[in-house]
């Protein structure tokens, strides 16, 4: 089943009088349960594509079908609801709320669009999510008391609290050392295989991309390559890395 379908998506930014095309017709289909890596040099348009996929931005033209719903023309409020229900986000810099416990950080998305949950239910669900990412003993720790890897795991728990079908990760390992990067990536793989969560991550680290089962390479606003990572000629597998 096709979870995401893009049809000739374009995005043009207006810089004064000059129109700058960033995405020049992207067509793409992502099935449920895929672990996709989106790569490309800076300025290739991968972040813009990510923002459109994440419903943070609207394409200038084209169609975007998410779970059988055309979402490219939705209003800002409708997109906010959609993000809350169907999409999870993990950021490079974690973006946790400072001086706020891990539990409250994770429960935060529930305060938007999940008002039917009681305070206790929300905390229970957040605790369950943290247990799933292996932080059951860190519920009341503040971000400053957690390591980078732990912080990113809190962020993942937060992204999954509403049980979205899709998880977006923007350079999820950019601020982590290689060991914790590996842990986070293994967690992504586990979520992908065990919970059938579709994961789309933006990265320019080939090692990270190696964990994906599909690699989309962007250049100059168009898709240059779309294949499993092994097919990439210059792909370095984690085993062969120095």
């Amino acid at each position: 089943m096709e979870l995401i379908t893009l049809r000739s998506i374009t995005k043009t930014y207006q810089m004064g009088d000059i129109a700058v095309p960033v995405l020049k017709g992207i067509s793409l289909a992502i099935r449920q349960g895929e672990l996709v890596a989106l790569t490309g040099s800076s300025g290739s348009g991968k972040s813009t594509l990510m923002n459109i996929l994440g419903c943070l931005d609207r394409p200038s033209a084209g169609e975007y079908w998410l779970e059988g719903q055309e979402v490219s023309q939705l209003s800002a409020d409708e997109r906010a609801l959609l993000r809350n229900r169907k999409l999870g986000f993990v950021f490079q810099s974690f973006n946790l709320l400072a001086r706020t416990s891990a539990l409250e950080n994770v429960a935060m998305p529930l305060s938007y669009g999940a008002e039917h949950l009681s305070e206790r239910e929300a905390r229970e669900r957040a605790a369950e999510m943290l247990t799933r990412v292996g932080l059951a003993d860190r519920l009341d720790h503040h971000p400053s008391q957690l390591s980078g890897g732990q912080q990113q795991r809190v962020a993942i728990a937060r992204a999954l609290i509403n049980r979205p079908p899709v998880l977006f990760a923007d350079e999820p390992t950019g601020n982590l050392d290689s060991k914790t990067s590996e842990e986070v990536l293994q967690m992504f793989e586990r979520l992908n295989t065990e919970d059938r969560i579709t994961i789309i991550m933006v990265t320019h680290d080939p090692k990270v991309a190696g964990h994906a089962n599909r690699l989309i390479r962007m250049e100059d606003g168009v898709i240059q390559g779309d294949a499993p990572p092994a097919a990439e000629p210059n792909q370095k597998t984690p085993e062969s890395a120095p």
């Binding site: 800002a76 986000f89 935060m108």
Partner: protein, 455 residues
């Protein structure tokens, strides 16, 4: 639930930087504190003034007969002779807004004790109710005359302080006999000193006696002639037969037998010079006037198109003037306090703007996980309101403490006013909404992508 969560989030956010939150609310704390203190002290001052005015007879109404005229010649106020003691009783009976009423007969004549004599400012013939109406019930010495004295026309009187000084040279006057127009009166009591009224009239230069005694034994005439009776007293010698003068003039023109048969009039026993009465409160004065007019017009058989044959005057003008003055003062102080509230509000806006900039990434994140613009707006607005309300609560404590301090240190009258507290809460919430709106609106308009990228 939603509002509760938002408020809790706001509290938690503010707790993250308690020092800054404290400093931010300081303006509101001072502003609200000033408002509370001003309103309490102002209310105390106004209450004390009202009490003072009440003791001067603020609720007092005076009914005087209207003007009589003959052939186009008006004789001035108080010259008709239509006001009767029965009117006074009817008013007491039928006007619920009237607390008490006393009929009054005035005389001005010489008073003699031993080898001293004096012409007091006023000799009032009245009932014991007069003391209640005038808020003068506590006597310096002795007891007031009673209703039986009034019914019997007993020759008893109460003296004002000035008379005691002039006639008795400071000795006790109770039990002594004085002569008013050669009629012996026993002094039963001495009024407490009241001093001059606002017109400079010495209120202690007065004799109170039963109105029946004054009316029938002393003057035998209405006030219009009584006023000149001081001179009358010197050239007419009273004999025993004069103790009950029957020389009262006829009140009405002689009517023929046919007229009497066609339109019988009840027998009128006496007319009085004025009725002095007290309303339940100064607020009920207009109501009392209305009720009295109705009763008197009916009793005097005045047709709808005819003017009143009486005048009702109140002293509420005095009350109003003074309470307006206090209100003005309170408002002035309030205005100053309001300015500090506005300054406090600007401080709130300032810090909220800084906070929005500082938390741009948080806003971006909240938007990314599904917060709509209005959720962000609400969050920041609630934060500002929580900040202001907390400040308001502290301000109430501060202001109340301040006014209590003033009460203990300077012995100023202070009145706790729930209205001031309610106003302070509303105003501080209002300041929060007004000055928190712009920063909150700014936050809600952020683009999530930009906000997430903000460093």
């Amino acid at each position: 639930m939603m509002m509760y969560t938002t408020a809790r989030t706001a509290f938690r956010t503010l707790r993250r930087n308690p020092m800054r939150a404290m400093l931010t609310t300081l303006g509101i704390v001072i502003g609200v504190g000033a408002v509370i203190a001003m309103m309490e002290i102002g209310a105390g001052a106004s209450g004390a003034l009202k009490k003072t005015i009440a003791s001067m007879g603020a609720n007092v109404l005076v009914i005087r007969p209207g003007t009589a005229s003959s052939g186009g010649v008006s004789f001035g106020a108080g010259t008709t002779t239509t006001l009767t003691p029965e009117d006074c009783q009817a008013i007491l009976r039928e006007c619920p807004a009237v607390r008490n009423a006393a009929p009054m007969v005035r005389a001005r004549t010489q008073v003699v004790y031993g080898n001293r004599n004096w012409v007091p400012n006023a000799i009032y013939g009245t009932t014991p109710a007069y003391l209640d109406v005038q808020d003068w019930s506590i006597l310096a010495e002795g007891e007031p005359f009673n209703d039986r004295d009034v019914l019997n026309g007993n020759r008893v009187c109460i003296l004002g302080q000035s008379l005691v000084r002039e006639l008795f040279d400071g000795e006790s006057a109770v039990g002594k006999e004085i002569r008013i127009k050669n009629i012996a009166f026993r002094v039963v009591g001495v009024l407490s000193p009241k001093g001059a009224n606002m017109m400079g009239f010495d209120q202690d230069d007065v004799i109170l006696a039963p109105w029946t005694t004054i009316k029938y034994r002393v003057t035998g005439a209405s006030a219009s002639t009584a006023n000149q009776s001081a001179s009358v007293a010197s050239d007419s010698v009273n004999t025993l037969s004069n103790l009950y003068p029957t020389a009262q003039r006829s009140l009405y023109p002689e009517r023929s037998a046919v007229q009497l048969a066609n339109n019988p009039m009840p027998v009128r026993f006496a007319n009085i010079d004025q009725i002095m009465l007290a309303a339940n409160s100064s607020a009920e004065i207009p109501l009392a006037i209305e009720q009295i007019s109705e009763v008197l017009r009916e009793r005097h058989r005045i047709r709808a198109d005819e003017p009143d044959d009486f005048n009702i005057r109140d002293m509420a003008e005095l009350t109003r003037t003074l309470s307006t003055t206090t209100k003005l003062m309170t408002n002035l102080l309030l205005a100053v306090a309001m300015i500090s509230l506005v300054v406090g509000g600007v401080g709130i806006m300032n810090i909220m703007l800084v906070s929005v900039t500082e938390r741009t990434r948080e806003i971006g994140l909240r938007m990314a996980v599904g917060a709509r613009g209005r959720d962000i707006l609400r969050q920041f607005l609630v934060e500002a309101v929580v900040l202001c309300l907390t400040g308001g609560a502290m301000g109430i404590v501060l202001g109340h403490g301040g006014s209590l301090l003033v009460r203990f240190l300077f012995k100023w009258p202070v009145e706790t006013s729930p209205a001031a507290i309610a106003t302070a809460v509303l105003v501080s919430a209002g300041v929060g909404i007004i000055f928190g709106f712009y920063p909150a609106w700014k936050a809600s308009r952020l683009d999530p992508i930009e906000a997430l990228r903000y460093e």
